[in-house]
Amino acid sequence: MATGLSAILLNNRPALLRFLRARGAGDESEDLLQDMWMKLEEKDLGPIADPLPYLYRMANNLMLDRYRSAARRERREQDWAEGAGGVMADPSEDVAIDERLILTERLEEARAVLRALGPRVELIFRRFRIEGIGQRLIAEELGVSLTTVEKDLQKAYRAMIALKHKMDTE
C-alpha cells in the first residue's frame, strides 16, 4: 500500500536518485532509495508538513552515516596496522583523569574561541548549533537581517572547524 511519504518518494524518484548520485552514492543509489522506501513502508510517520524536504534530509542523513562508519572502519584498520587499538588501552584511573583534564581544557579553549568572535556571533552560533533554532527565527529574535545571521554563522563555523582540526592534529 503506497501511501503518504513512500508514495511521495516514488513520485520524486528521479530527483532523489539524482541527489544520491551527486552525494557520491554511485551505483548504490538505487539500493539506498529502495531501503528508504522500505523503511517508510514499515512505519507510519503520520502527516509531515514538508514531505519532499523530509525525504531529501533522510537521504542526506543516510549518506552522512555511511561516511562516518567508513571513517571509523578506516581508523580501526589503521590502529590495527600500527599495533595500537584495544590491547593498548589501559582502563586505569590515571587515563580517565588525563582524558577528563584534556576534555576540560578543550571545552575552555572552545569557549575562548567562541567568545573571541564577539557576543553576537557567539549567541547566534549557540542558538543555531546547540539549540537547533533556524536562521530565520534567530534573525527575528535579534532584530537583525538574515544576511547578518548567515555571515556570523559562517564566521563561527570557520573558527570552530579550524579549532577542531587543530585539536585533531595535537
Binding site: 539524482r18 552525494r23 571545552l107 564577539g118 557576543p119 546547540i130 537547533g132 529574535e141 532584530g143 572547524i161
Partner: protein, 308 residues
C-alpha cells in the same frame, strides 16, 4: 578551508532548509564537493564534544561600562550611552514628589494595582519606585517582582532595573534584581530588553540573566515564571547561591551557603513553607545538601546525600 562547503553545512543544518535542488546542483558541479561536505559535516558532529550545552553567555566586563568590548557593534551600540542616560533620569526622578517608593520586608509580599490596570506583585525584600502621574513607569531597585501588564502599544510599560530597561509587549513577566545579577523570565506575551540598545526580544518561555559572567538568554518553563506567588520556586540547573537568595527573600530567613554548597546546581521545584525547620528539613535533601541552624539564620552545606 572550503567556504562554499561550510555554507552548505550551515544551510542544510537549518531546520527550515528546503532548497535541496540547489544543493544537488552544487554537488554535481564538482565530484570533490560531496567529500568536502561529508568531512565538514563529520567535524560539525564532533563539535558536540567541545561546545558545552550551556545557556547562551555573553561576556560583559564588569566595572567598566565606559569601554564595553561590544560597543562598536551597531546592534548593541549605545548600551553605555543608554545606561548613562537612565542613570541621570533616575536621579532626576528621585527628587520629584510624584515618585513614591514601596518596600517589602523579607518574607512579606504585596500587590500594587496601577491606574492603567497593570498589577505588580512584590516578593519579600523588595524595593520599587512608581510614579503617581505615570502608570507606565516602574523601577525595581532591588528584590523580585512579577508584572501583569495591560498592554498598550502606543504607550509601552517600562521597568527600569539598574541600568537596564525592560519594555513590555503584552506581558506577564518576573524580574529579580540583586547587587550582583538581574534575571527576567517571561510567561506571556513578550518583553524587550533595553529597547534603545541591545533590543533583545524575549518571548514567552524565554529568560534573560545578567551578572558578572555576562548576559545569558535561556529557555524557561512558563509556569515556572513568578511561581513564588503560588508558593513554589522552580529551577533548571540554577546555582544554589541564586536559590538561597530567592529563599531568603521569599521566606524572610537569613540564609547563607558554604562555597561548596553554593557552587552546586539544582533542577526541580521547591515548595515554600513558612516554618523554617520543616522547610529546610524537606528542601535541603532535595538539593542534595544539608541545612543547619546558625544563630538567627540557616546555613546550607554539602550533605552526604545521594550524588545527583
Amino acid at each position: 578551508m572550503d567556504e562554499e562547503a561550510i555554507g552548505w553545512v550551515i544551510r542544510t543544518r537549518d531546520p527550515e532548509f528546503a532548497d535541496w535542488e540547489a544543493f544537488t546542483s552544487w554537488l554535481e558541479a564538482d565530484p570533490a564537493h560531496a567529500g568536502a561536505y561529508d568531512a565538514l559535516m563529520a567535524a560539525d558532529a564532533d563539535l558536540d564534544r567541545i561546545v558545552p550545552e550551556e545557556p547562551v553567555t555573553i561576556a560583559m566586563p564588569a566595572n567598566d561600562p565606559g569601554e564595553r568590548r561590544w560597543r562598536p557593534m551597531r546592534w548593541l551600540g549605545g548600551g553605555a550611552v543608554a545606561a548613562a542616560l537612565v542613570g541621570v533620569v533616575s536621579i532626576g526622578l528621585m527628587n520629584r514628589s510624584d515618585i513614591y517608593t514601596i518596600t517589602t520586608r523579607p518574607g512579606e509580599t504585596r500587590t500594587i494595582a496601577l491606574d492603567d490596570g497593570t498589577r505588580v506583585d512584590l516578593n519579600g525584600g523588595t524595593t520599587m519606585r512608581f510614579d503617581r502621574h505615570d502608570a507606565r513607569f516602574a523601577a525595581l531597585d532591588s528584590g523580585e517582582a512579577a508584572f501583569t501588564v495591560r498592554h498598550d502599544a502606543a504607550d509601552p510599560f517600562r521597568v527600569t532595573v539598574g541600568d537596564a530597561v525592560f519594555e513590555d509587549a503584552g506581558t506577564v513577566f518576573n524580574i529579580v534584581h540583586t547587587a550582583s545579577a538581574t534575571r527576567i523570565g517571561v510567561s506571556e506575551g513578550k518583553v524587550i530588553y533595553n529597547p534603545d540598545a541591545e533590543a533583545i526580544a524575549l518571548p514567552a518561555g524565554r529568560a534573560l540573566s545578567e551578572d558578572d559572567s555576562g548576559l545569558r538568554v535561556m529557555d524557561i518553563a512558563t509556569d515556572a515564571v513568578a511561581s513564588w506567588r503560588q508558593g513554589r520556586l522552580t529551577y533548571a540547573n540554577a546555582p544554589v547561591t541564586q536559590i538561597s537568595a530567592d529563599i531568603a527573600r521569599s521566606l524572610g530567613v537569613q540564609l547563607t551557603a558554604t562555597p561548596g554548597a553554593g557552587a552546586t546546581r539544582f533542577t526541580g521545584t521547591i515548595r515554600l513553607d513558612r516554618d523554617p525547620a520543616r522547610f529546610f528539613g524537606q528542601t535541603a535533601p532535595l538539593m542534595g545538601l544539608k541545612a543547619v541552624q546558625q544563630g538567627d539564620g540557616w546555613l546550607l552545606k554539602e550533605g552526604d546525600g545521594p550524588p545527583r
